[in-house]
């Protein structure tokens, strides 16, 4: 059971349940309280036609509560009265969405305007059908307001990420109006979907974490933004319709945002249309924010403290870090290019994979779940790279599969529970109170993060950052080093570093580390030339493979290394930094 203040309709359905990261060890633990629901969780219902309201406050789990699988909710619940009044809300939301199309950020792009109008029209048409249907059956609809801490706390944390990241990468702030639009659309869509299937809808902050979580990983460019609305719709449809029986009640299988992200990622990969989205930019610009790992770690602690996600996030991080370290020890080169755990993955393991309603319920199951996520990301990163596909999908593709495996993982965990060291519940805090166990897990996580930081695996400089490192590794024929060199030069060329474009042209001309391709080579030389890198122009003229040292402008891009903005750094400091990063010509 998700939460005790959900509207219940018998034992088979409990209304909208959870959204990403709704954090529900806490609510689950409350539900396990032997003497019934906790007082703060009981909705305070106001006698108002069509509406009821409740407020659930976050509370620390109290010592002494028992662990165990959640039981079906059997207590009788009350529901708000039905009326016609709630149907005005989706109408108002659709009209607000329409009004947003006149905001300058939106009005400047005809496709965006069309997307907003189409979304509004779709919602209003759906509402009209719903109104006709409900009038025919002479039934209204009911709305209950339930403010769940797992939603608003999660949303607050996600907003903090947007604010901090956006301060250093302005497209995030430019996206703010589009986030608002998605929220309006999500609320209206969720209401209409719920009221099309039943009388009651639970209004709260649920759509916030779904929208924010989706947008922390993927959003479509303005010219294709109508697909963003469809992605949001897919998430809510998946939450509402793709369900299974779990612990005796129907609940959604997939984390809504992970479902839509996974679905759309597959489609984008299959059609080769990743460029229609900001996905690659999103994945690579988190590190523009200084100390992003520390920031994510600190806000992650808030979520961990209230919602006990530590076992999932921590085990995923440990597996990823361990796998990376092992790979590095064996091959001599880092596994991930710019970090031991890419910052976007670090974000994902805090905010994407940790939704308890779609993950295992037992401590061992959670740990297994996190480990499998870590392994999944690790394997997918290599697989996508080998296939020449964008690697940022690594953190998105495995979550739906893991959601689908949640019950199986719990069963495996249960079978492990009775055998051997793994199953020794004491080792997982099984004999402690949940609150104490959670604090122990957090403590271990803090120590682990501290160790990672001390080893330079978080915000410190990463040796895989530098082009000279990969040039040397490629020359030494280290595994995948030449492929990584091509990859990072491609990234820098895409950032308009003429030097990198010229180097790519040389690689495709000589065929030393990639198959020779004269058309590719000429295209890269042309790009280098248009970026005023003289050697690129000369190579374009004569088919040569001339090289030159990076210019100051190139260094400002090459030395950024997914880190701070160097465009205003004085040249002496720039060259000193270049020297420090292995560019011998700058010393």
């Amino acid at each position: 059971m998700k939460t005790l203040n959900a509207v219940t309709t018998g034992n088979t359905y409990a209304g909208p349940t959870c959204s990403p990261g709704c954090g529900n060890d806490y609510t689950w633990l409350r539900a396990r309280r032997p003497d019934g629901p906790l007082a703060p969780s009981r909705p305070v219902r106001y006698k108002q036609a069509g509406l009821s309201m409740s407020a659930a406050r976050p509370r620390r789990p109290k010592p002494g509560r028992q662990h165990g699988p959640p039981q079906p909710q059997t207590h009788a619940a009350t529901t708000p009265a039905v009326s016609w009044r709630p149907l005005w809300i989706p109408a108002a939301l659709a009209l607000l969405l329409l009004a947003l199309s006149f905001v300058p950020r939106v009005a400047g792009n005809p496709v965006l305007v069309g997307s907003f109008w189409a979304a509004s029209a779709g919602l209003l048409a759906w509402l009209a059908v719903l109104v006709v249907s409900t009038r025919r059956h002479a039934k209204g609809r009911a709305l209950e307001v339930v403010l769940r801490p797992q939603h608003y706390l999660q949303a607050t944390v996600q907003v903090a990420v947007f604010v901090y990241w956006g301060y250093f990468w302005r497209p995030v702030y430019d996206h703010a109006w589009l986030l608002v639009a998605q929220l309006l659309f999500a609320y209206a869509f969720d209401m209409l979907l719920a009221w099309s299937r039943r009388e009651h809808y639970t209004l709260g902050f649920g759509p916030f974490p779904i929208i924010f979580s989706t947008n922390l990983f993927l959003w479509f460019r303005d010219d294709w933004f109508y697909l963003q609305f469809l992605m949001v719709a897919a998430g809510f449809l998946g939450k509402e319709l793709v369900r299974w029986q779990r612990d005796g009640r129907a609940t959604h299988i997939f984390n809504p945002s992970a479902f839509s992200l996974g679905l759309f990622s597959l489609m984008l990969i299959a059609t080769g249309t990743t460029d229609l989205t900001w996905g690659q930019d999103i994945a690579s610009t988190l590190t523009l924010a200084p100390r992003i790992y520390l920031f994510l770690f600190l806000i992650g602690l808030v979520v961990m403290y209230f919602f006990s996600i530590t076992l999932v996030a921590g085990s995923a991080a440990i597996v990823l870090f361990g796998s990376s370290a092992l790979y590095s020890a064996v091959t001599g080169v880092p596994y991930f290019i710019d970090s031991e755990i890419p910052s976007a993955v670090f974000l994902g393991l805090h905010l994407l994979v940790t939704d308890p309603s779609t993950s295992p319920r037992t401590p061992i199951g959670k740990a297994l779940f996190g480990m499998l996520y870590g392994l999944g990301v690790f394997v997918l990163y290599a697989l996508l790279g080998v296939l020449g596909l964008p690697t940022f999908y690594d953190k998105l593709l495995c979550v739906p599969l893991l959601n689908l495996s949640a019950q199986w993982i719990d069963r495996v965990a249960a079978s492990l529970g009775g055998t051997g060291a793994i199953g020794d519940r004491a080792r997982w805090g099984g004999t402690w109170s949940p609150a104490r166990a959670n604090l122990v897990h957090i403590t271990v996580w803090v120590l682990f993060f501290g160790a990672m930081t001390a080893l330079g695996a978080t915000d410190s400089r990463h040796r895989g950052d530098t082009v000279p490192f990969w040039e040397q590794a490629c020359a030494e024929d280290r595994p995948l080093a030449c492929q990584r060199l091509i990859q990072i030069e491609t990234n820098y060329c895409g950032d308009n570093a003429g030097w990198a474009c010229n180097e790519l042209g040389r690689h495709y001309t000589t065929g030393g580390i990639v198959a020779p391709a004269i058309d590719e080579a000429l295209a890269y030389f042309g790009q280098a030339c248009e970026l005023r890198f003289q050697a690129g122009c000369v190579n374009l003229l004569g088919g040569g493979t001339r090289s030159a040292d990076p210019r100051a402008l190139d260094l400002r891009l090459l030395l950024r290394e997914a880190g701070p903005n160097l465009l205003e750094m004085p040249e002496p400091a720039l060259y000193a930094r270049a020297c420090d990063h292995g560019w011998t010509f700058a010393c």
């Binding site: 509207v7 219940t8 309709t9 018998g10 088979t12 359905y13 219902r45 006698k47 036609a49 009788a76 009350t78 529901t79 708000p80 009265a81 979907l193 299937r197 039943r198 009388e199 294709w224 697909l227 469809l230 719709a233 897919a234 449809l237 998946g238 509402e240 319709l241 793709v242 369900r243 679905l263 759309f264 489609m267 984008l268 299959a270 059609t271 080769g272 249309t273 460029d275 229609l276 000429l522 030389f525 042309g526 790009q527 030339c529 248009e530 970026l531 005023r532 890198f533 003289q534 050697a535 122009c537 000369v538 374009l540 003229l541 004569g542 001339r546 090289s547 030159a548 210019r551 402008l553």
Partner: protein, 325 residues
């Protein structure tokens, strides 16, 4: 008003419709994304007509004075290529004696002008036209600036960058080598190791002013009836008759600036130093002035420098067939 929970009779309906909608959404989005995907085959597609036929400057089937069966090159025995014989010519200008000359036209501190000896080469009678560039773009799938092909087909192509111009040269070199439409004389040159490319700064200036060091291609004074300058826009190539101009070339003054293959460097000119500053921000020399310029800028010795990535409505090019360096 508080009510009790609904009975099982009001349980949610089976999600068949909703799942159908979800499936439809997935199929629809996937189909749409498939339609939006980038062209997986950038190779030449002879049937590809969408880009240019709908453009304002769409190329007609026939164009007077040009051969539609030979990439809209001029309709003469050598497809518009004119020989410039080997020999010396006077390059540069003296700001001390010519009030219109710019400082960068002076040969050196000690010498106002230089004598440059060049081997023979062939140069296009006209600037490359919209129709010719369109033939290239159709044949290769080349994505050009939208402005590049907006003008009528017999106007000079403009809004092309320096790499765009070189891409055209490489293509023309290939088709001239391969096609049966190529004049035997040109094919012989190409088989002998010559190639189609942009003129060097020196080749351009020699073609424009001949061996007698003219200020303008037609003589010493500006004439509006001989070139398109100080005007509102481009004109059809060759539309300003210039019987006095060397080698029968047109538009060496005005119409559009013309890219050369020379990096912008101080005089004295020598092709040997073209590779000296590979790490610098490159500017490339353009010559001849354009319709936007005054009489001062359309002199044969004027040297302009432009960012190789610049695509401007007053910059185009013409090509040469010359020995490899």
């Amino acid at each position: 008003m508080l009510t009790t929970a609904p009975s099982s009779a009001s349980a949610p309906p089976a999600p068949v419709l909703g799942l159908s909608v979800l499936a439809l959404l997935v199929v629809g989005v996937a189909g749409w994304l498939w339609a939006e995907r980038p062209d997986p085959d950038p190779d030449p597609d002879p049937d590809r007509t969408g880009v240019t036929t709908e453009a304002p400057g769409a190329v007609p089937a026939e164009l007077a004075g040009f051969r539609s069966d030979a990439w809209f090159l001029p309709d003469d025995a050598r497809l518009g290529f004119v020989e410039v014989p080997a020999g010396p010519f006077v390059m540069g200008n003296d700001p001390g004696t010519d009030a219109m000359a710019f400082a960068n036209e002076r040969w050196s501190a000690a010498q106002a002008q230089g004598l440059v000896d060049l081997p023979a080469f062939y140069i296009g009678r006209y600037e490359v036209t919209v129709a010719q560039f369109d033939a290239f773009a159709r044949d290769t799938g080349f994505t050009a600036d939208l402005q590049a092909r907006q003008a009528p087909p017999d106007h000079p192509v403009s809004s092309v960058s320096w790499p765009d111009a070189l891409a055209y040269c490489r293509w023309l070199d290939r088709v001239l080598r391969q096609s049966s439409e190529s004049p035997p004389e040109l094919r012989r040159l190409l088989e002998a190791g010559w190639r189609v490319t942009l003129p060097t700064e020196a080749q351009w200036e020699k073609a424009a002013r001949s061996a007698d060091g003219r200020v303008y291609p037609w003589g010493g004074t500006p004439r509006r009836d001989r070139a398109n300058y100080s005007g509102p826009g481009t004109a059809p190539v060759g539309s300003a008759p210039c019987p006095e101009c060397p080698f029968g070339l047109s538009d060496m003054s005005g119409n559009v600036w013309e890219w050369t293959r020379s990096p912008y460097q101080p005089y004295p000119f020598t092709a040997a130093d073209d590779l000296d500053r590979l790490g610098d921000d490159a500017l490339w020399v353009m010559r001849g002035g354009s319709f936007t310029d005054s009489e001062r800028n359309v002199r044969t010795a004027v040297r302009g420098g432009a960012d190789p990535g610049a695509r401007r409505p007053f910059i185009g090019f013409r090509v040469v067939i010359a020995p490899r360096n």
